[in-house]
Structure formats: structure tokens, C-alpha cells
Amino acid sequence: MTDAHATPPAPSVIGNPAVILDARAKVAGRGSYTDDLSVPGMLIGRILHSPHAHARILSIDASRALALPGVAAVASGSDAPVPYGILPIGHDECVFAVDKARYIGDNVAAVAASSAEIAERALDLLRVEYEPLPAWFDPEQSMCAESHWIHQDRPRNIEKEYHHVFGDPEAGFGRADFLASERYFAGEVNHAAMEPHATLAIWDPDERLIVYSSTQVPYYLHRTLSEVCDMPMSRIRVIKPLVGSGFGGKSEVNPLEVAAAVLARKAKKPVKIVYTREEVFYAHRGRPRTIVDLKAGITREGKLSAVVARVVQDGGAYCGFGPVTVLYSGALLGAIYDIPNVRFDGYRVLTNKPACGAMRGHGTVNVRFAFEAMLDRLACDANLDPADVRRRNLLRAPCTTPNGLRVTSYGLPECIERVVEQSGWSQKRGKLPLGRGIGIACSHYVSGAANPIVRSKLPHTTVNLRIARDGAVTLYSGAADIGQGSDTMQIQIVAEVLGIRPARIKLVAADTELTPMDLGSYSSRVTFMVGNACLDAARKARSRIVEAAAARLNCPATALKAANEVISSERDANTCLSFAEAAALAIGSDEALVTQGVYAPPAEARGGDFKGAGVGPSPSYSYSTQTAEVTVDLETGHVRVDRIVAAHDCGKALNPPAVEGQIIGSVYMGFGQAMQEEMIWCDGRLMNPSLLEYRLPTTLENPHIKSIIVESLDPEGPFGAKEAGEGSLAATIPAIANAIYDAVGVRINSIPFSAEKVLAAIREKERRVPGAAPDGAK
């Protein structure tokens, strides 16, 4: 390397737009998702689902199905009787129901055949004898059940209950000048990721299992397959191809993943199972229907004095993530603001419906709706500006909240200011014509759970970095990119630290045979945790390369920088070596330079020691503020959301277009839940198990969404970054609710805000105040 001046300085990789790694393959139709894979001799699997919501299984006769030409295997409960579940405290489901089916759609048996048509015919030939049992569909009735419990070891169908008190809520209410007490409802929603779940399981002649699956959690799938199939993890390989998004729906092991493995082992052939969209809805694991009884008080000055919440979640028939979901609803209830007195009573209730689970904004969304809607109401009662009330209740970060959450960076004040300014809040609130309104709300979320699902002292993630003699860099990471761009983020971090072009780096990802353990893509943990591990590995490599260069260039290592593919002196750019030359020196007589990066949250971020304290703690929290503008049709009650302005504190935007995509995508999903999405049940049967009837928002309904990035630079995040993918969702719903109030003076306490509910509320208001136009908010 002779003339470093020949090339202009490379712009920083971090903070500049980066095209996602596999974008070109995706637009060319070359992206390979699990259902795109096929191997010679591959069988197609289909699953038989229970037609009963609650029924004992008396017998299964597979003889006629097995006699059908083309059928290779039939599996049922006795083939895989080991119970599993994502939480160690909730191993309550088997891949095929062993004693009884617990919801319509529960998995009873499965068939592998040479074609989908034959597999489906074989399902029709399976004879299952059921004894129907009384079933529970309403959580408030279910939690009073005296008999016919869904799981015998869960009396009164209560999966878990938690009771937390911080400070003195009653004394807090005594100091309040304005009190509100309301019941809020939120309907059940599904992730509706565009890619239906798919798994290809290959039984190797050496008695090994290779599983390709659309999963957010290759590691947990690996563990579960090992337990259920009673095979050591070393004989199972899990590979995550491209995943057509997840939003939490692929963050625990889904029955088809185990079913494909069991069938492949039984048939000794590869088996692929792909869910139909109807099966995706019945596999579910989405956001539970939630009842929130909320009470809050503020002083005349707008200071929150206490909040009390009782939360009942309609969890469905199995535990899944349930206890975590209900704990999140309590842990993040008060922690966004400075609230000294908080009481939380949470109940996760079993019902004879598909199990709920983690969905974007896990556990926090429905309670955040209730809280932010109530805060708006209290602000109006106190004749205060709702934006101002939020300003008066800010935390003084860094701090620790009463429930033990450590807050290290806090961009909420800036989020509020930016949104107020960009939305024209002051000119609009209370001043728009009747039928038009604006509302504001805030939300927050964890940047990764500080405690792993399976308690352990091991790192939450490990990455390996290998630099070859020719300067080629390979990163081995178990992180699961599901479309959010986390693979690109990892490459950006390594490129930035080593001062090299991203194109020099190859990523080997999410293959348990090749990549070290990562816990998975859930709780918005990947940027913070895997990003920090990449930083660690890259810094270790840089230090060895720079030391080798320093020895050759005869100058102190501290005088050298790594940038623009060159290791050069800070003072004299001509004193330099190319990255590849310096790397070769550092490698010496070794085969390659290999470093390992790890991340584990610090002990002080892991929360308190009360029962349930493990959920909610995170090394860092994101913050969001949003305004929504709506137009309400006074004749029909129809609400059109015109515009949403969303500011999100992501710490530092490593890849700004990807961050904006996450903010806008979260707002879109919040909008869908607020306005039109709801799973409608009738005696345990889903009335709308298709995208059309479930009413996923299209381009025609979706509002204009403006995203604003706020960067608070978290002291522990990689380059200051924290989460961007979930925290914005929860603010959208209450912002819309509060905008409806501003438009027509009615408060809708039930999600979704359908035209029927809004019209009924407008009529009710007119009835109470005869002759008055619904202008209460004006």
C-alpha cells in the first residue's frame, strides 16, 4: 500500500443507509424460503385437527389410511408423548394430543404421503373416536370453573396469576384530584406473517435429523426436537432459511416442526409440512383477548399519583409464553412514566381455544392502550393539554423504576417534542372541525429480555469471526433474520469496527451445525445483544490486526486507525498497510485469525427478586410518541385514520431505512389492531380464518405514516443502539382512540374501533344530552 490518499475516506457504515443483504435475491425471486426447498424422495405431511373444542380421545384407527397407496407413515400421540413448551414451567403440550384435544384445531395425528392429495385423502380415512367434554370459551367464566379443567394441574383454569404492589396505591389515590376507573377490552389478533409456517425435516441414513424451518428461534427448536425425539442435540441440525416474517408467531416451537420430524423419522424419508392460512390462524400464538380494569389518579398539576390494573388474558388451551405475556403487561404498565404507586393483578386464564403467545409488543400493547386512553381522559378532566401531562410525568433517567427496571437512556422527552412539532399538535388539538380530531399517546419496549427463557449463566449470544489470510472475513452467527434486516446490521458493525467494506464480509447464519448459540429473534433483542457480540468479536480482531501492523510499521498501536480498508497512522497517512496485509501479519503461521464475541446483560439489569421479577428487565428500553389524526363520519360511525406521526427513540439508527421500516411497520400493525383486525370466535370455532375475512389492512385503508428517528445513544447499546421493531406499535392504538375523542367527544374502550361501536357511542352521547351535537371535546 503506497498512497492512501488515492482513495477518499470511506463514509461511516454505521448510521448510513445500507441495502439489506439479500434484497437483490428477494426481488429477483431467488430468495429461498422453507416451502421453496425440495429434496429427492420428499413426502408431504398433513395434520389432522380436532373438530371438538374439548374432548377425550378414546381411540385412533389408522389402518385404512395406512392401506392407501402412497401413504408412508401415520403418527399420533403415542409416537411423541414427551410434553414440551417454550417455558420451563409450561411443558403442557404434546405434538399430537395424547389424552384429550383441548381446542378446535388441536393436533391429533399426521400423515406423510407421496403427494398432498394422497395425504389429504389419508386424513379422511383416519378414524378417531372422541368423547366430547364441556368446554370453556370465556375467561371470566373459565376462571370460576369447578370441574372439567382444561389441564388437571391448573385448578379453575388459571395458568398463572401475579399480584404486585409498589408504593402505596391507596395513599396515592388519596392525593389525586382527578380519578378515573374504567374497563377496557381488546380483541384477539394474529401475527398474519405473509409466509405460512413451513418445515422440511430430513431423516439422514446415519440416523440424524436435519430440519429446515421458518422459525424465529432455531436454538429453542433444536432443544425441543432433542427432548421430544429423545435424540442428542448433536444429532440434530436446525437451519433457518429465509423467513417470511414472524412478529412472534414463529418464536416458539410450532406443532408442524415437531410433526415433520416425527414423521420423517418414522417414514425414514424427508417430510415437508406447510400450513394452510387457516392452519396458521388456528396455530395462532397471537395477542390474547384482554380485559383491563384500570384505575388511575392525577393531581391538579397533572402528576400521576397512582395506577391500579387488573388484567385478565384469554390465553387459550396451552401455556405457551402465557405467564410472560401477562407479566409484561404489568412490568411495563407504569415504567414509562414516573409513577410512585402501582398495583398490578394479572391472570392468565386457560380456555378451549388455540393458545395465545408472543406478538409484536408482547404483553404491553393492550394495557398501554388502556393506560394512555385513561391518561387522555384525566388530562381532559383536569383541563390540561394531554401532551403536557405526559411531559409532567417523565422519568429522570438514568434511574430505576419502582418495579426494578433500570433505565439507562430515555429519549421520550424528545419524542414528545418532535411529534408535537411535526404534527401541528398545538394548532389542531381541540381546534379541528367537528368530526376531525387528533390524539397523542406514548409507548415503550424492551431491547431484549435481560433474563433468558431457560435460566442460565451462559452468554445470550456468541458470534465467531474468522479472517482468512487473503483478508476475507466470515462472521458465524446464530441470529435469526426474519426480514427485519438483522443480518445486515451485524455486517455493518463488523465493517465499521474493522474499517472495511461490508462486501468483504460473508455471513454464515442460523445453522446450528455451523453457528454458535443465539437465543433467537424475540423480545427485540437482536440489535442490542447480537450487535454487542459482533462489536466484541470485531474489536478483538481489530486489536490483533492493529498490533501486528504497529510492529511492522514500527509505531505504537494507539497511533493507528482502521478505516477505508487501510490500517494507517493517525498522523501520517503514508505509514500504512492494507487490511489484508495487516491481517496476514496478525495471522502469522496460524490458519486464520479467529475471535469470539459474546454478550450477556449485566447483573444490575436483571431486575428484582420478587415472584415474576424476571420479566420486564432489559438492558435498555426504546420509547415512542405518536399522534393520530382521524376523520369520523357522524352518520355511520366510520373512522378514517388520515395520518400518523411517530417518533421512536432507537438509541442510534444503525441502518436508518431499516429503522424507519420497523417504525412504520409497527404503526401499520397497531393501526390494523385498532381499526379492523379481530379474530372472531363462536364456541371455539374461528369465524374469520382467512386474510380477507380477518381484514389485514391494504394500501387503501392504511394511513399516511411519518416516522421520526430519535437517537438517545444508549450507553450500553452497540454504537448506542437499542430496539426499533416493536416499541412503536402500542402507542398507535391509544393515539387513535384519543383522536376519536377529539373528533366527536366519545371514548371507545374496546378495540377494534369499529363503526358500530363508534356510532353507538355517538348515539348514546346524543341520548344523554338531547339536542347536543357530539362536540364534547371541542
Binding site: 439479500d22 424460503y33 405473509m194 411497520g665 394500501t699 387503501l700
Partner: protein
């Protein structure tokens, strides 16, 4: 079920498959011809991920029989590249989705690209409302659509000028 020879013209090539008459075009493309770019996201023609061009018109390949498409020129997402400026180059619509972050998980992207190409051939300079209308049969769960609109506008500029463009201004609501 008897299997007949079905002759399809796909991405400029004539291909013959043997399949029963009820074979869906989507299955013929994905399973018989190995063209897995078109995706199945639903069971009832509601997601748009399987859209293809039949004689330039976007249709859902999950709602068409392969036998009934024997007289059409079929273009799948795999056939979009190279039509504008050489065999290795992406179509401007594809470039737009790359440059403007219009693809996140990418599963819906093939359908959106097909709808985008059909729109821009019909209307090279669409308004935002015309873009929304033209894409309303395609569902995306990741993006919230905003960066998809930008991708389409980027492509429209490229189609119009057939020249490399600077990044286009962001879409803003009228009162921004």
C-alpha cells in the same frame, strides 16, 4: 386423474409439463417448473403473493388453471430482470424495491413487483393514489407500505428517464 401434457410459455421459454387438468398455475410454476419466486401466502386468493403477468396483465396464479394459460405469455418475478437493459440487470421496479427498502422479509415482494410493473407499463407516471389503488390487491405485513410507495416512485422515475436517478424526495402528506 389422467395427466395431460400442458405447454406453457414462461419468461420467454416454452416448457411442457404433465399434470392433471385441475393443476393450478401456481403449482405448475413452483412444483413442475421449479420457479419458486411466486409465493403462496393464503388459500383464497387474498394475499397477492402469487401474482404473475399473463400477456402483461397481472393475475393470481393460485386462481388460474395451468391448462387455461397455454395461450398466454407468462411472466413471473424471475422473468422481470433483464427486460429493460440487459440480461443481468434488475428491472427498475426491482431496483426501486432494493434501493428504497421496499422489501423486508421479501415474501410478498414478487407479487408487488408484478403489480408495479403492470402499473408502470400502463401508467408511467402514477400519482400516489394511483399507486395505492394499483397495489391494493397485494398484502404486505412488514412495511406499512410507505417504503413500497417510494420504491414504485423510484421505479417510475427510472422508467421515465431510463437513466440512473438520485434518491427521490420522500412521500409527504399534502400538509407536510
Amino acid at each position: 386423474m389422467p395427466e395431460d401434457a400442458i405447454r406453457l410459455s414462461v419468461n420467454g421459454e416454452t416448457r411442457e409439463i404433465h399434470a392433471p387438468p385441475h393443476r393450478l398455475l401456481l403449482d405448475a410454476l413452483r412444483e413442475d417448473l421449479g420457479l419458486t419466486g411466486s409465493k403462496r401466502g393464503c388459500d383464497d386468493s387474498s394475499c397477492g403473493a402469487c401474482a404473475i403477468l399473463a400477456d402483461g396483465v397481472p393475475i393470481l396464479s393460485c386462481a388460474a388453471l395451468a391448462v387455461s394459460c397455454q395461450d398466454c405469455e407468462i411472466t413471473t418475478v424471475e422473468g422481470l430482470a433483464g427486460t429493460e437493459s440487459g440480461p443481468d440487470s434488475l428491472d427498475p421496479a426491482q431496483q426501486g424495491f432494493v434501493e428504497c427498502a421496499g422489501a423486508q422479509c421479501g415474501f410478498c415482494t414478487p407479487g408487488f413487483l408484478v403489480s408495479t410493473v403492470a402499473l408502470l407499463r400502463r401508467n408511467p407516471n402514477p400519482s400516489l393514489d394511483e399507486i395505492r389503488e394499483a397495489l391494493s390487491s397485494n398484502l404486505c405485513r412488514c412495511t406499512g407500505y410507505m417504503q413500497i410507495y417510494e420504491s414504485v416512485q423510484y421505479a417510475a422515475q427510472k422508467y421515465l428517464t431510463r437513466a440512473p436517478q438520485q434518491p427521490i424526495p420522500r412521500i409527504e402528506a399534502a400538509d407536510d
